[in-house]
């Protein structure tokens, strides 16, 4: 079997050393087009956990308008969502629920860990804590981390752009100037 494995494309290798099934039809161009389509229509799940959820809502609202990038279709059902924005603290009580929701999403799917709580437990990590999962990446694979407590909507938008870059391999939108570069 080892010989056969070497014939497979390295990009089909998963983290655990297994190979994904090869696609039935594999045309490079079609794949690229699909990638662009996926990156431009990331439908998030309506899934707010805590404070960050309000900033996630604010991102979808008039001033910041997530819709410009085709990501405003918040789907309440995980079956129709592409993107899970873990916006808030994950507790031990809810951990099985998060894993289940992630499993219910159809592939290809992505996860953004929004806010310090989802990244590492954030301010709720202290000696003797008994109820917070210290980082949602202990439960499900995370693609993009957006730090902040809570992150500003601009931060979440930047996280979305980073995810688009990750999917297509290209940064699509102009990069904002660093602080100090502005005239």
């Amino acid at each position: 079997m080892a010989e056969k494995d070497t014939l497979k494309r390295p990009d089909l290798l998963t983290a655990n050393g297994n190979y994904m099934e090869e696609p039935l039809v594999n045309v490079e161009l079609a794949q690229d087009i699909m990638d662009v389509c996926r990156s431009m229509s990331l439908w998030p799940m309506t899934f707010g956990l805590a404070c960050c959820a309000i900033e996630m809502m604010a991102t979808g609202m008039a001033r910041f308008d997530l819709a410009r990038f085709g990501a405003e279709v918040f789907r309440p059902s995980p079956r129709q969502a592409d993107l899970m924005i873990v916006a808030g603290t994950v507790t031990h009580k809810f951990a099985p629920g998060i894993v289940r929701l992630y499993e219910q999403m159809p592939g290809p799917k992505w996860v953004i860990a929004m806010g310090n709580c989802a990244i590492s437990g954030g301010p709720f990590k202290f000696k003797g804590q008994y109820n917070v999962v210290e980082g949602v990446d202990k439960l499900i694979p995370v693609d993009v981390y957006v730090p902040g407590c809570p992150p500003r909507p601009e931060g979440l938008l930047e996280g979305l752009f980073e995810l688009q870059r990750k999917i297509t391999g290209k940064r699509w939108w102009p990069v904002a100037k660093q602080v100090g570069e502005c005239s």
Binding site: A62, D65, R68, E72
Partner: protein
């Protein structure tokens, strides 16, 4: 004789293909319009970056949906589960056949055109029931129950309103109904049947599950209602069917009450399209403005208001025709 049949058949096939393209195109345009229109109602630009002014957004969404994984839930009835979206979408194609888009642009002339539309539109409620039942999901089941109760209820006043028009025109052929109306607005059926028009329009909202009557999929109550468990194109088909039904209902409304392809100066498909899209925009506008009604209120509106009004309209029409 044989050549005659063949030409008929060929014509029908061309019409069906054209209708398919038309339905697909309509869905794309409508989704774009809806999102853009909603955006502007809500003080934001809506889809903007994908294509010029976000024009490619629906196309890209569609492609993405096709590329998603197809999931069948564990406890679902597999055959019925996948039959439902197909059953919801395919009959829609048939509904476009008798609609006269222009003086010669009709899929197939038939004497019972409106009857065909009303009959096959009933398939939709069956599809929604199957979808909710087969997906083995409690929210889906509740959504399906709502969908059927709603569709059954709202079909009756709609039928009665249509009958009113049929009484004045004396035909069920949609082309004939159009040609009986004049070019100018005061020569349209809406002048003769204002009550019927209102009843028809309200029933249309109910029939197509649009807000404020979008109870079968009421997001804040039933998560996603009957299509909670559908991923990928299963959901996509329901989505397209919903928009296709909107187009059908608005087209029929145009034919029955607004003079169809007839209009001032030159008759033609452009008048038809303009009127249909005006109605569609009304539907979109209402959706983004009003809250959702409650389920018992929805049925009360129907049984206590629309049905008596439609009956009264019918009786009055009959009375005046007899005079």
């Amino acid at each position: 004789m044989t050549t005659f049949i063949n030409i008929q058949l060929l014509y029908l096939i061309i019409a069906l293909v054209a209708i398919m393209a038309w339905v697909g195109l309509n869905a794309l345009v409508l989704v774009y319009c809806e999102r853009k229109f909603a955006g502007h109602i809500q003080r934001r630009p809506g889809p903007f970056e994908v294509g010029p002014h976000g024009a490619l957004q629906p196309l890209i969404d569609g492609l993405k949906l096709m590329g998603k994984q197809l999931l069948t839930p564990d406890g679902a009835d597999k055959v019925l589960f996948w039959l439902a979206p197909i059953l919801s979408f395919v009959p829609v194609l048939l509904l476009f056949v008798p609609i006269p888009y222009g003086p010669v642009l009709t899929g197939m002339e038939m004497n019972l055109g409106i009857l065909l539309i009303l009959a096959f539109a009933g398939f939709n409620s069956l599809a929604l029931l199957l979808a909710g039942w087969a997906s083995n999901n409690k929210w889906g089941l509740l959504g399906a129950a709502r969908a059927v109760a709603q569709a059954v209820a709202y079909e009756i006043p709609m039928l009665l309103a249509v009958l009113g028009v049929a009484f004045i025109t004396g035909t069920l052929n949609l082309t004939e109904i159009t040609t009986m109306q004049g070019a100018w607005p005061w020569q349209w059926n809406i002048v003769l049947q204002p009550l019927g028009f209102i009843v028809f329009l309200v029933s249309a909202f109910g029939e197509t599950n649009r807000a404020p009557f979008d109870l079968p999929e009421g997001e804040s109550e039933l998560t996603a209602g009957f299509h909670t468990e559908y991923s990928s194109m299963g959901f996509g088909l329901f989505f397209m069917a919903e928009y296709a039904y909107m187009v059908v209902v608005c087209s029929v409304c145009t034919v029955l009450y607004l003079g169809g392809f007839k209009g001032p100066f030159i008759d033609g498909w452009w008048w038809f399209l303009a009127k249909t899209y005006a109605l569609l925009f009304l539907m979109i506008w209402v959706r983004w403005t009003y809250p959702r009604v409650r389920f018992d209120q929805l049925l009360n509106i129907n049984w206590k208001w629309l049905l008596p009004l439609a009956t009264f309209n019918l009786l009055a029409t009959a009375f005046f025709i007899k005079l």
